[in-house]
Structure formats: structure tokens, C-alpha cells
Amino acid sequence: MALISNGRFVEDAWRRLADEEALPKAGKVIVSLPRLQHALEVVGPEAALGVIVPNTTEPSALIEASPRLELVSISFPAFSDGRGFSLARLLRRAGFKGELRASGRLVADQYSHAVGCGFDTIEIPDDLAERQNEEQWRAALNVYAMSYQRGYSGRGSILEARRSAARS
């Protein structure tokens, strides 16, 4: 797996825990959604907790745990399945401040969509990272100077720019 953050391939500080692995006392671990409740109860204050969820998850299932959650990773079963974008939006709207990660076969051309919806990092399989190298991901962030939408992150809004130009 390769991890992309701010247009760079970076080391992943988090470890994905298999369901049969014991919960560690410390470190940054990502558990599956069915295991989240248990993990919240037993994991010590030294450990940082993240969860990986299907893109069909109801945001309310995570909101309660969100003060303790430092990372939510949303699975993209196919790069063309855009449900994860809406889920990310809803989690941000509900006030989730931790790292939002998109995990799946996303392509570089979707990077600015992901950032716009509130994702911080993208996790892709190695074979994809080989074809779509760091340069392509970095370039994808800078294709557009601005966007037409308001209320999405990443780039400046054309509507806002027009509004402030009209004012001055």
C-alpha cells in the first residue's frame, strides 16, 4: 500500500490491525468497524485509534465515538463508486476533526474531488502507485486554480472571488 498526503507519497504512521490481532497498549492502529466498540472500551490512553468503514456506513455510527477516534478510513470498493465522497462530507459536517482517509483503487484524477470532500490522505495499492507515481498525484492537485462550488475544501471558490471583486 502507498499513502498520499499533500501530494506526496509518505510513510504510514498507522497500522491496520487484523481482527484476530490483539489490541496493543500503544501506537496508532486501525480496526474494523465491528471491532470498534470493543476497542474503544479496552484500548489504553497511550494508543491512538482509527477505524476503517464501508462507504455505506451511517455517519451516526461514528459520531458518538468521534472524540476518541483519530482516523476514519473509508473504503472505496471501486474508484467509480462515489458514496465515500458523500460520507466524508457528512463526517466533516458532524464535526469529525481527525484524519479522513480514502482507501481503495482511487486514481490521481480524483484527488481534488477527495480533498474537496474533506479527505486528508489516500491509500492505494502498490501496483496502482507504480503506474500513477507521486508526480501525477502532485500534479492532480494543481490542475484547477479554483472551483465553482462553495463550501468544499481545497480550492478557492469562483463564486466567492466574483463576490469580493464586485464589492471592491
Binding site: R83, V107, D109, Q149, Y152, I158, A161
Partner: protein
């Protein structure tokens, strides 16, 4: 600046009646071209697989068809300037085979571009403030509108500022570019629906409430394809202030809950059908209530900025009727027929709306050669403030012609083979490209349209028959809108043979209805016969003032079924 651009800039009646890009719009479209150029390069280098490339080329209007790529160019709300029309002609000559095809979604398709040329074509489009963004793919498609927008006498408000507002909002939307399936929005601001809003994923009807405030009736879940549905009202009166927030709410509900397990059940119409409109309305209202609506609140200044571009052209003050026109009609009966059939009432006294038919007898519906495009561009400049429209019936509209000028315009059109006086008549057939071009098609459509058109080549007979919409699709995806044709024809493949299923009673307007199947399919050869017999039966049965669909509604489907049944008994193998 090219010679063409220079010429356009010097023209005294340069278009004033449609949106013009500001620096932001221009930069955005250039960035899109650059992005696509890079995507093509990465596809060719192998960085992108075909599967990965596919949604991105589709979102730029590039299909892989039966024989070649097809590029679909967006004509937002069907409005074109003369300069843009000339550019379309130039592109057809330089990178295609000298013609283009106007579609039922007010777009233009080139059937023979090469993949490597498409970035240059997009660049040439960007020069004249055009693009191919979101004319395909599982995203919000090019927003369509009433082709008589701004000139129809029955209008509450010009729908194009709303449509342009939505074009911008939907362009490369971060959240809604990977929807379960395509998403089509149409807008009308008139009392008569010419934009078929009830058969779109979202239909917007501009309305005024009791307090005189402008708002939108929002209809959701209409559509054609293999499961046709008439849309249902999800918001009876959405104030303009909340339009964007309300649309975001609908799109979010659809993006999250629309089916993704079966692409034939992935449109929002299926979600609405399976959950019921009440559950969908509740979900949309809950999402609407939960969201930060202030972000999407209407910006009156921005709306006014856009609306100002659609200001009426400098009309002259004229008497409501024209003596010149009356005299010319008496002198030239062919011209009189053209006026009676192809000219519609305009909201300004002394002006008229002219429909230029792209349905010559025996021709390919919606096709125009580059020379014809140039004639249309010239005609619009000489007689209509340099503005043209594309209708979803695949014709071209000149929306502001002085009645005094109609005869001169007609002569110009006639010389270019563009004066067919059949707008709305039986030979004004809507047809998809069908098996001749399309990789999805199961049967031919164009040759069927041509055969029917030839069968009714007698124009006086056509006028006697009156308004009658025939719509032909070459497969179940229904791009030819057969479900809403008064007579619909669907080409299927049965045991290796083309088989045409006929439906009657479809209607795309506010009285929308889906056509009913007449009976077993017929062969390509039989189709014109069957259509002719149905039309003759209607002529025999109709009472004064009835159109085909009126008669069908009055006497019922069963009587028409008998026509097809008799056809079978006559020995035809149906």
C-alpha cells in the same frame, strides 16, 4: 486572434443575448482542456488503464462507438451564437467528415474524431467559450432548457439564467461526479413545457407563488430508458434562495442510496419508484434541514450578473402584424406553408420565432453539414441578432426574426436545403443514431426515419395530418425518446432480426404520459406501412380540431390495436 474571431469581434450586431465567460470561466475551461490533454497522454503511456480512463473521457463527452470515437459537445440550454456555430462547422471540416449531429439533449455530436485530435478540438471549442464537459458519464449532465426561452409569449421567466447557474454549480462537482448513473436536469419557465421536464432526473419549473415570489417546482425521478417513468413532485415551491441547497440534498440522497448493483436500476427514477416519493421527499427534507444552507444561499448579485447576459436584444418597435409578410405569403404559397408550420408567435410585436427543420424528406434527423451550419450562422446574423438555439426535437431555432424579414430568410434557407416546412409534423421525426453509429444499438433507427419521412413526402398530406410526433430509438436506452412520442418506435433485435415495437400515446409535456405498446413487433420493411395505416385510421376517426394524440385519448388504444391486428391478417408476417 484567428481571422474568424476577428470577424466576429468586428460584427456590429455581435451577440448580446447569451452568457459570456468571464476570466474565471475561461480559465476553468482551459484548465479542463489541459487536464484532458494530460489524461490522453497518460492513457497512451499506460499510466491510466482503459477502465480508469473511461469515466474521465466520458465526462469530457468522448465515447467509443461502433466505428470510431464520438465527441459530444455541450450546447448549454441549447443557446449558440453565430460565432460558435461557425466554429462547430470549422471543427466538422478540420477533424471530422464535414457534418455534425444535433441531439435530443441540445448537444452536438461529431461521429469521426480521432482520440489524439480531441484535445485540439476541445481547445478550438474553448476559443469560442464552449466545451464538452459532462455531456456523458455518471455525473450531472449538460443542463437543458426550453428552446423558446426568453421569446415565448407564455413565459414567467427566462429559464437560462437558472440553467447557467446550475451549469457552473455542477461543473466538476467534488461530491457528485461519481454518481450511480447519469443525471439530467431540465428547466422551463413557461406555461407550456417544451423541455420535457417530467422525463428528466430533475425537472425544474419556474413558478410564482401567491405572494408573487419566484420559485421552483421540483420534479424528481422522471426518465425514459428501459423503465420509463413520469417524474413526481418532490418540492412544490422551492424559493430561489434555497434552490442549490435543495438540489444538493437530492443529489446527496441519490449518491448515497441510489442502486449500484445493477446499472439498469441505478437511475434516481428507480430509487424513487422503489422507495416511493414520500420516503424520498422525507429523506431530501431531512438532509436539507441538516445541512448548512447558508453556504448554498442564493446570491442575488451573482444571479443578476448571469441574468444580465440574457437581456433582450435591441428590438425595434413594430406593429404586431406585417404587411410585407402578408403580401409575400400571397405571392409564394411554399413560403406561406413554411410560415404556417415553422413560425411561432413571439412575445415582442412584429417579431417571430423560426424553426429551421433538420429533417429534410428522406434525410438523417438532426444532421447538418458544415455549409448548412455556416448558412445558419449567417442567417442568424442577418436576421436574428446572431443567436441560434438547438431544440430537443433536433432542429435549429432562430429566436428573434422580424416578420418583415421572414421572406428573405426563407429564400436564404431554401437555397441551402433548410426550408423544409415540417416543424412538428409527421416527418419531423426524432431519432437516435441507432445501429449506423452506436455501439449500444440493437437495430437501425435512421433508415426507419428516412423511410417514414419518404412515405409522407407529400407536404399537403402532412399538413392535413397536423401535429404528430414520431420518435425512434434503436435500443431500449431510448435516446430517441420513443416512450413520449405520440407514435413511438423502438428497434429491438429478435433472433438476429430487427424488430420494431410501436407505442402510442406518449407525451413529453406537462400532460406527460408514457406510450402504450400497440402489439407484437414488426419488421423494418413493414414499419412505414403500419405507421401509414395508423395515421390513416386517425384521419378517418378524428373530429374537427383533434391532433393524433387527442383522437387516441378519446377513442382509446384498443381501436388502434385493431389496425395492427388487421395488418397481420392481411398476410404480413408480424
Amino acid at each position: 486572434m484567428t481571422a474568424i474571431d476577428l470577424r466576429a469581434a468586428q460584427r456590429p450586431n455581435a451577440p448580446t443575448t447569451t452568457y459570456r465567460y468571464d476570466d474565471y470561466d475561461a480559465a476553468f475551461v482551459r484548465e479542463r482542456v489541459a487536464e484532458f490533454r494530460e489524461q490522453v497522454r497518460r492513457r497512451l503511456s499506460g499510466a491510466l488503464t482503459e477502465e480508469e480512463f473511461r469515466p474521465f473521457r466520458l465526462m469530457n463527452g468522448l465515447y467509443l462507438q461502433l466505428h470510431a470515437y464520438m465527441l459530444r459537445v455541450a450546447i448549454p440550454y441549447g443557446t449558440l451564437t453565430a460565432r460558435q456555430m461557425r466554429r462547430l462547422a470549422d471543427i466538422a471540416d478540420k477533424w471530422d467528415k464535414g457534418y455534425g449531429h444535433f441531439t435530443t439533449r441540445q448537444n452536438l455530436q461529431y461521429n469521426w474524431p480521432k482520440l489524439v485530435d480531441t484535445p485540439d478540438i476541445l481547445e478550438a471549442l474553448a476559443d469560442v467559450e464552449m466545451h464538452a464537459i459532462q455531456t456523458s458519464g455518471n455525473c450531472i449532465r449538460n443542463v437543458t432548457a426550453d428552446h423558446f426561452a426568453g421569446v415565448a409569449p407564455d413565459e414567467i421567466e427566462d429559464p437560462r439564467p437558472t440553467a447557467e447557474f446550475l451549469r457552473q454549480w455542477s461543473s466538476l462537482h467534488p461530491e457528485f461526479s461519481f454518481l450511480p448513473r447519469k443525471f439530467k436536469i431540465a428547466v422551463t419557465g413557461a406555461e407550456h413545457d417544451r423541455a420535457a421536464i417530467l422525463v428528466h432526473d430533475i425537472g425544474l419549473r419556474i413558478v410564482r407563488n401567491a405572494e408573487g415570489e419566484i420559485g421552483y417546482q421540483v420534479v424528481v425521478g422522471g426518465g425514459l430508458g428501459r423503465s420509463p417513468f413520469v417524474g413526481k413532485v418532490v418540492g412544490d415551491f422551492v424559493p430561489r434562495h434555497y434552490l442549490l441547497a435543495f438540489l444538493e440534498a437530492i443529489l446527496r440522497v441519490y449518491n448515497r442510496f441510489g442502486r449500484r448493483d445493477n446499472k439498469y436500476k441505478a437511475r434516481i427514477k428507480i430509487l424513487v419508484h422503489e422507495k416511493g416519493i414520500d420516503e424520498i421527499r422525507a429523506a431530501v427534507e431531512a438532509e436539507f434541514a441538516a445541512m448548512d444552507r447558508s453556504v448554498f444561499a442564493h446570491d442575488p448579485d451573482e444571479f443578476e450578473r448571469i441574468a444580465a447576459y440574457f437581456a433582450p436584444p435591441p428590438y425595434e418597435t413594430l406593429p404586431p402584424t406585417s404587411d410585407v409578410l402578408r403580401a409575400a405569403k400571397l405571392d409564394a404559397p411554399a413560403f406561406a406553408n413554411f410560415v404556417d408550420v415553422n413560425v411561432s408567435a413571439h412575445k415582442i410585436p412584429g417579431y417571430a420565432i423560426v424553426t429551421v427543420s433538420l429533417k429534410p424528406i428522406g434525410g438523417v434527423p438532426g444532421d447538418a453539414t458544415s455549409d448548412q451550419m455556416r448558412v445558419l450562422a449567417d442567417a442568424s446574423e442577418r436576421f436574428g441578432f446572431g443567436e441560434l438555439r438547438v431544440s430537443h426535437e433536433q432542429n435549429i431555432i432562430l429566436p428573434h426574426v422580424k416578420q418583415d424579414d421572414l421572406f428573405a430568410l426563407w429564400r436564404l434557407l431554401d437555397a441551402a436545403g433548410l426550408a423544409t416546412a415540417n416543424a412538428g409534423l409527421v416527418s419531423d421525426i426524432i431519432s437516435c443514431p441507432g445501429m449506423d453509429y452506436c455501439s449500444l444499438a440493437t437495430a437501425r433507427s435512421i433508415p426507419i426515419a428516412q423511410a417514414i419521412s419518404k412515405r409522407f413526402s407529400d407536404m399537403s398530406r402532412q399538413r392535413r395530418i397536423g401535429k404528430l410526433g414520431i420518435k425512434i430509438s434503436g435500443c431500449i436506452n431510448a435516446c430517441g425518446h420513443h416512450h413520449v412520442g405520440a407514435i413511438g418506435i423502438l428497434g429491438l433485435e429478435k433472433k438476429g432480426q430487427e424488430s420494431y415495437q410501436i407505442t402510442l400515446g406518449g407525451d413529453p409535456t406537462f400532460s406527460a404520459s408514457i406510450g402504450e405498446i400497440l402489439g407484437p413487433g414488426v419488421t423494418a420493411e413493414q414499419t412505414p406501412d403500419v405507421i401509414e395505416h395508423l395515421v390513416d385510421f386517425y384521419l378517418a376517426e378524428r373530429v374537427e380540431g383533434e391532433t393524433f394524440i387527442d383522437t387516441w385519448r378519446r377513442i382509446g388504444h384498443a381501436r388502434f390495436k385493431d389496425v395492427l391486428r388487421r395488418e397481420g391478417e392481411d398476410g404480413a408476417d408480424i
